[in-house]
Amino acid sequence: MKPAPFRYADPGTLEEAIAVLSSEGAGAKVLAGGQSLLPLLSMRLAAPTTLVDINRVPGLDTVEATGDGVTVGALVRHNALLHDAAAARVQPLLARATANVAHPAIRNRGTTVGSIAHADPSGEMTSVLALTDGHVTVATPSGVSTVEWRDFFVGPLETSVHGPAVVTSAFFPALPDRSGTAFAEVARRKGDYAVCGAGVVVTLDADRRVAAVRASYVSVGLTPEVHDLTDAVVGQPADSADWAAAGALARTLVDPDTDIHASADYRRLLVGVLTERTLVAAAAEALGGTE
């Protein structure tokens, strides 16, 4: 369990980082918190020729919360985001989801953007990026561009960004008005990757009736997906909507896999249960916000 040989660079600027990534070629990998990459190296499941450590690059460690949403820099650790009150006010899902990412020791090093760049469908933050309809900002030799979440996640551990690139930030849009959110998951042990997780956003109309319901799941499917559950409950009063029907609808929309910890059927069961439970909580929050 020792990594194969690799070269190491720790550039002091973003430009330098891009330059090193370009010159080192396809075998080079960005190193952020190392919480996913280093285990892969140690088990020799990955053998990059070069690690480009971006931890010295300035300006990537800030969380910026505005009325539009929250921009999370590439070096922001999960724990920093978890405890960022301004970010939580703009988009409560951020704190709710990061609280479910691993344990404090891993959250202290692992980055939220790294987790998104890693594109693990068992990660919470990939799902939250999708649910909030967010995007990432990517720096490449040809400049800086934004990529919508839908275009970013291609497959498990696979994104559309290839070649020399650093994801410099992720943007999570603000929670819309008259909306509430909730996030819940079932894990075998506290802090483990979820067997199934669910994040939801409920939006009400001016009459406090359900206008929109969106849900996204963790460890369900190969890439993050957002499911529109509005049809099951649209127009119903938020305090007595048939959330079970929304859960039942969700079960028909997902296509989970079986692994050693859970069968596909069990995950589907959890999708229904967690959808219903989170929707009850999210609706209550939305109602609270409209009072």
Partner: protein, 807 residues
Amino acid sequence: MTTKLFGEPVRRREDARLIVGKGRYLDDIGSNALAAAFVRSPHAHARVVDIDVDGALEVEGLVAIYTYEDLHGPMAEPLPVLIPHPQLHAPRTGYPLANGEVNHVGEPVVMVVATDRYVAEDVCDRIVVTYEELPVVVGVDAARSATHAVHAEIPDNVAARHHQETGDVEPALAASPHTLSFTQYIERSACMPMEGKGVHARWDDADSSLRVYSSTQASTSVRAAIAAKLELSLDKVEVIAPDVGGGFGVKINHPWPEELMVPLAAIALQAEVKWSEDRREHFISSAHERQQRQEITVGYDDDGRITALDVHIWHDNGAYTPYGIIVPIVTATQLVGPYVLPVYRVIVESVYTNTVIVTPYRGAGRPQGCYAMERTMDRIADALGLDRALVRERNLIRPDQFPYDHHLTFQDGRPVIYDSGDYPGLLDKLKALVGWSAAEELRAAAAERGKLLGVGMAMYVEGTGPGPYEGGHVQVLGSGKVLVSTGLTSQGQGHETVFAQIVASELGVPIEDIEVTTGDTRRFGYAVGTFASRAAVMSGNAIALAARGVREKALRIAADVLEVDPGDLEIDNGVVQVKGTPGASMPLRTVAVVSNPLRYAFDEAAKQATQFARPGSDDKPPVAVGDAPGLEHVDYYSPIRSTFASGAHAAIVEIDPATWEIDVVKYAVVHDCGNVVNPMIVEGQVHGGVAQGVGGALYERMVYDKDGQLQNASFMDFLMPYASEVPDIDIDHQQTPSPLNALGIKGAGEAGVIPGTAAIASAIEDAVGRRIASMPISPTELYDLMRNDDSELTAACARRSGTGAMA
């Protein structure tokens, strides 16, 4: 200050050192040593056709590559069957490096030695081994059906057929008012010490001697094995177990291939060589335990009293049987628990599979035996509509029945005769501790919260402290320091504390003056090892005897000096004094100096002692015949048979009927290990055991696929419980001293883990009303059980409408 520390909750003296990073574990030794790494089989069953090292030779830092062809003499022979047994009719062991065939994923094929571990692994990556794959046998049922054979010459895959019976079971069953039969399973788990195995070897060419550090539970035997296999004289080999970061059984098996290969390389290369096992290696090339298929038929009367018990078990022993059939024997003999079984027959067929070997893991077959017996009790209670505690109580051995002879033969070849116990006392205490009689109210309250609540219990008797012997050495130095050593090893149990408590109490010296050394063959050459909850019983008693010997000698010498009768002397706080006469005294350290007639005045102690020295008589030698210089004593403790500890556990679980998550909300333990040396340490042992019990019941398993690949060989996917998964534990003690040893103690090391699976299975069954016949159980499996129309409802469920049916 008292030195009567036996029974006191003395804080663990080793912890400060271990917690602040001053422990000296295997990997802390020899930072400049060459590193060994192994090419291990990626296949569960294959012939090794070719090993091509050419591509590896250019790697810078490569020092040596070893394959089976490099092994000669005893090293080219199979590894020993440590504990042969007449019923182990087809034993098989591997070789230090594979000899033409591999029988499980992880078996060592090639050893690489390089300048460091990174380079060694680079070399391993470039060695190309060609295999011809053979059919694979995974799991007891596949082994039993014997479509394929693990070892070609053993077509039925049966290594041993262990059989014991105490009477004619078939007529007894036929005459029983009721019988029931069932089959159940229990899965594999493993010890998972924080520190894996590890070996460091250094050859001193000038002295022709070898020093080996091994993260082992049996350093004296590792020493003997190395000497035999490498053809060295025993006196030229020393083996030291440094701080060992947990063992739980896996480090009692020996010699591991690496324990031989690393010293071999050290000698051949004339260099320090080290191997420290990584976690993946630990998963695929150490040892597992616990998988069994159990077929049980029980006869009983209307009151639930057992009339006959017939048990047929298939035990998965993995690819080889280096540790004999200890685990099957323990299951067979400890299954009987605290109960009277008028007629008992047990057959354990130990079968080969193409998986990692099975050697004792804390409990060592007892959790399986307890699971068989206790689930039988639950089934009888269910069938008769009786309280599960009541059925148990009716079958218990009564306190006036001791010594109680089960007419079985234990793992040590000695009869299973229980020395002492109070099992009804345990049960009463347990019911009170867990609130057994309030279960229905708790169930109703939980139902209001939308939860299914269930309670379960399990009782056990644990043979502890098997022989044949352990020894102890106690020596008082002129400085007043008291050196204590014993040959058995420590893996974090707190031996430095409890052995010191025993010596402080026996000798009357402050604990601060006592230094304990374990598992170092330079200090003590004869030992058996740390397993089967035997350290306190065996070494504890041996050390007590040694301390008594020192005390006797000290009193004799002091009596001579002080011109009093030894019977009038006592040792108090390190001073030998005449009882009740202030002033007439001398420090024990001075006795130590006086005990040696050669006394160069190097130091103050020697100078002071001269004031006590009296001229010896001219017609006697300075050291009397039969006497020896120095204030020290060696003694051994060798019991006639094991002593039997006991206990009872209860669990309360709450289950979410929507997600089928299982939460252990209360866990109660009543524990009887005779006289307790240190209650804090015993409770620590119980806590750790319960954590492993909960792990084995709800979280841990070895997920092999049909090709014999272990799917969860990392802590990411092998779910050892975190602190967050282990419930708070309520403990009550009962002390029934053992009449077999001077200290009246019984072992406590394994107890905590034994009843976990049985008690939690019982509680889940009680909560959901469906039969639980396979453990561990996870939420996804519970969901499958609950939605399967064919799964068996319990009779209790039918009586108690409501639960058990799916919403």
